[in-house]
Symmetry: C2
Subunit: 543 residues, 2 copies
């Protein structure tokens, strides 16, 4: 079982040091400390465990170290930055494990870019040695890249020529779409096992600058200081501590303080419940700071995030998840007002972006989500985003018309999907009038109105409810899981594509295809043949 919580004192592969406004996140992978003993993490190669620490470190810098304005990402190993994902680990992984590994590493890279775009935290990749594959993809996620010019250190994406797979963490997309490397040069680069070094790496746009060994540390420190100087983060702390979530684990349930997920394994379904706040929000930003990670929105979304990761990583056969909420609409709306009122405060900003990233994690989870909206639920504002993220929503049309949902300004901008649109914009693509109509309604929206406004999928009455929702879940759970994954990946992301959606749509879909192909994973495939005697043998047919 994989767990996703860690903390700096438990890191085995990274060293996080904070020196005034500049943090240094240095990779120093312990060969013998992989998640499995089947492989050794040589040359700063990584597995999911290494990336879980990286994700944690980025998160903690955002919440625990507001005084940090720039992060240097480097390595403690001599002449090696990072050799990328460990090949023996990939070779020994199931298809699903490979796909989820790539998804998590992609989300972590995008979290780096999110911090840069939205939190005033700039990242400098300081490549002190060879930087291959996923190592270079980590660098690509940073704002700037400086490469040591020692006559040897190169950046490279050797996956395609060497292993017959794609760089799986956004490399191809970022090379052309973020760094604007010319597509023909990108083609040469991505098929060159030894990579590109020195001046040519700058000319092609693969790195921002090179620096001789003797001046490398100084150049990095100077540039990091410059990047830190433009930040709008606070000059000093304190931050808040992200304390352990400590869920209660039983055979069929994970129970957190505000979230629970219960598995019906025989049915391949799960019930995910989020409890709304039980107390009114703090009265000021200072009180939010004092509440720290006990502040309901942060607590609830951290727990939701952890539940989603455990679901993905440990429960592959759970295909259909029913989302419910409990509590009072008005309580959630009060927290939404609080978040919006203090959104310029660094911590509130961090919390809202974290909620956004967690909701994106829902969008990107390859499982079906149905939201069940029943009396006593709290699908208001930011929690209503869960119903909008779901593939379908079922709302009980009760005789008394008391069952209700509610919108808040949190549905109108602060929590965009990875396509850059809000979930309401994606839902009502090309018809802004329907969004206006929904907001114009005001107040709680009962089932009849919600259905009329298009805010829920179906609103069965009390007579039909039990059968209809039961049959919907049963039918869904009986379909081909692959077809559902493909279906959802296409229907969820209507509208524009962004670099982020290209990474999860175009790049990942092709990578998943290749991860199935005998030319990669067959007995004679490139991923199997690497490091063994003999060369791979390919079926030469192109499609």
């Amino acid at each position: 079982m994989v767990t996703f919580e860690t903390s700096p004192d438990r890191y085995r592969h990274w060293k996080l040091t904070v020196d005034g406004p500049v943090a240094t996140l240095a990779m120093d992978v312990r060969e013998d400390a992989g998640l499995s003993s089947d492989y050794a993490l040589k040359l700063n190669s990584y597995d999911l465990g290494v990336d879980i620490e990286l994700a944690d470190a980025i998160q903690r810098i955002r919440f625990e170290h507001p005084e940090v304005h720039a992060v240097v990402v480097t390595s403690l190993k001599e002449r090696i930055f990072c050799a990328g994902a460990n090949i023996m680990m990939l070779r020994g992984s199931s298809h699903g494990a490979k796909v989820n590994f790539c998804k998590f590493t992609n989300e972590t890279r995008l979290a780096i870019e999110d911090a840069s775009a939205n939190s005033g935290l700039k990242f400098l990749a300081a490549l002190n040695g060879i930087c291959a594959g996923g190592g270079y993809e980590l660098a690509l996620a940073c704002d700037e890249i400086v490469l040591v010019d020692d006559g040897n250190s190169a950046v490279s994406l050797p996956e395609a020529p060497l292993l017959g797979v794609l760089p799986g963490t956004g490399g191809l997309t970022r090379v052309v779409d973020k760094r604007h490397v010319r597509r023909d040069l990108a083609d040469c680069f991505s098929t060159l096992v030894e990579g590109i070094k020195g001046k040519r790496a700058v000319e092609w746009g693969l790195v921002d600058r090179v620096s001789p060994t003797s001046q490398f540390k100084k150049a990095v420190a100077e540039r990091a200081a410059e990047l830190a100087a433009v930040s709008d983060r606070p000059a000093a702390g304190p931050g808040i501590a992200l304390t352990p979530l400590n869920p209660t684990m039983t055979a069929d349930e994970i129970r957190y303080s505000t979230v629970s997920i219960a598995f019906q394994r025989a049915k391949r379904t799960a019930d995910l419940t989020i409890h709304g706040p039980s107390a009114p929000p703090p009265a000021s930003a200072d009180e939010i700071l004092q509440a720290g990670d006990a502040f309901w929105p942060l607590r609830a979304f951290r727990e939701l995030d952890d539940a989603l990761l455990r679901l993905r990583g440990n429960e592959p056969e759970i295909g259909t998840i029913v989302i419910r909420t409990t509590g009072a609409l008005e309580s959630v709306l009060a927290y939404d007002r609080e978040l919006l009122e203090h959104q310029s405060h660094w911590l509130v900003r961090e919390i809202v972006h974290f909620m956004k990233r967690t909701l994106k994690r829902v969008d990107l989870t390859a499982r079906t989500f149905f939201a069940f909206i029943e009396p006593g639920s709290a699908f208001a504002g930011s929690l209503f985003e869960l119903a909008l993220a779901a593939d379908r929503s079922y709302m009980l049309h009760d005789d008394g018309e008391e069952n209700a949902i509610a919108l808040s300004p949190m549905n109108a901008g602060p929590l965009p999907m990875s396509n850059g649109l809000t979930r309401l914009q994606t839902r009502f693509l090309g018809d802004a009038g329907k969004i206006d109509a929904a907001f114009a309604h005001g107040g709680p929206i009962n089932a009849g109105d919600a259905e009329e406004l298009g805010l829920v999928t179906v609103a069965p009455d009390e007579i039909d409810w039990d059968d209809e929702v039961r049959l919907a879940v049963e039918a869904r759970a009986a379909f081909s899981p692959d077809a559902m994954t493909g279906l959802e990946a296409n229907l969820r992301f209507a509208g524009p594509e962004t670099m982020e959606t290209k990474i999860f749509g175009r790049l990942t879909a092709w990578q998943n295809w290749i991860f199935q192909r005998p030319n990669a994973v067959g007995d004679k495939g490139a991923l199997k043949a690497y490091g063994e005697q003999g060369r791979p043998e390919f079926d030469w047919k192109r499609t």
Copy 2:
């Protein structure tokens, strides 16, 4: 061996009738006339042969019938519009055949939308009966859809629930991105085997209107007349005849009048050569009309198009194609000027859009293209697009500096890629200054300047040329063909995504993935189990 040329007198599955400004394209599939005798094309289901006729018909309406302003797409079978792609055909097809089948049908649907967007030709899908899967996807490609309201006829996308695959011809994308069907309703619709009929199909946005059986023909005729009335096509003909290409076929070569493709099968490479015009262009639009399909740009691009289709369909192991041109730069530029001068003429408009579609076919061909630019070549203007479409271009830097390329206004807009950008915009993404610099150069551009301007990938000198290009091709042809397909699909489409690129990137990539999965194509998979005894058995793991 599949061939892609046909003509209305040879159609077995479609009937094309022209009645003034309205053409009717009626599907009447002959069960026993599939490309293979392994399956019967029941219920107006189709295989590649049926779609080749459809593509031909659309093309001929554009070129041979300028007086046609609207096209009714319907069926001659009682109570059946179209049951979609033939399932037994899919089941018996190799992975590559499935992928190429979907690619061709997608290109045909997009050609319908291209005719609507750019040629003043509107399409009305007249659904006279059940319309399932690929049948509905064909309707989705039309401008409007009218469905008979007979209490029985429904539209449906039953692929995912019934066969464990995706609708492979853009259906999921067009439902949400073109017709703006709400994503949760689209989810319900795409998992409902029996589909949606009548008023609800209109409410959900799946069709534009329904019409009772008794009024159906009249409603279709009236709406077709209205659509025809807004066209800017000529009121009367004549069009031009698209005559047979009649290539000379030998074991290792296909030779047309202006194009040849020679296969080195042992090396898995091919040489594709396009000969520039040998005579000056006609002096007027009338003379272009008289020249008809002998007019060089139309002739050359028709031959190129056919060569690409034969390459895809019949030569799966040819992975790397070297593109060369012969002739004089100035001759090509003269034709480019002619095309631009008369671009408002209906025929010239058709020719330029056809050139555009052919170049898109290059972009979307899952083979590596290298352009070799040598003395005596004619990489100017519209032919230079081939070098820009190539994954790399090699230009001989001759001592005499006579080897040259040239740009024309055809490189600046009329021939966009499917991402909506020109190939120069995609190449210099985010740096319009480089495009300006290339055009500011003026006149022929020698190898040194072309490399400096970033218009070619590499410009080896005479000493290095032979070895460098030989090694480049050999290295490319030795890589995993799947990895190259994925690499190219990601690097070629930098920049924005459109509905068109989403269909080929996101949707197709997921479909290709599913087409590999045991849950679809394994012995117990849904595609294998359909129509057999027993239900499919799934590996329930989601990714």
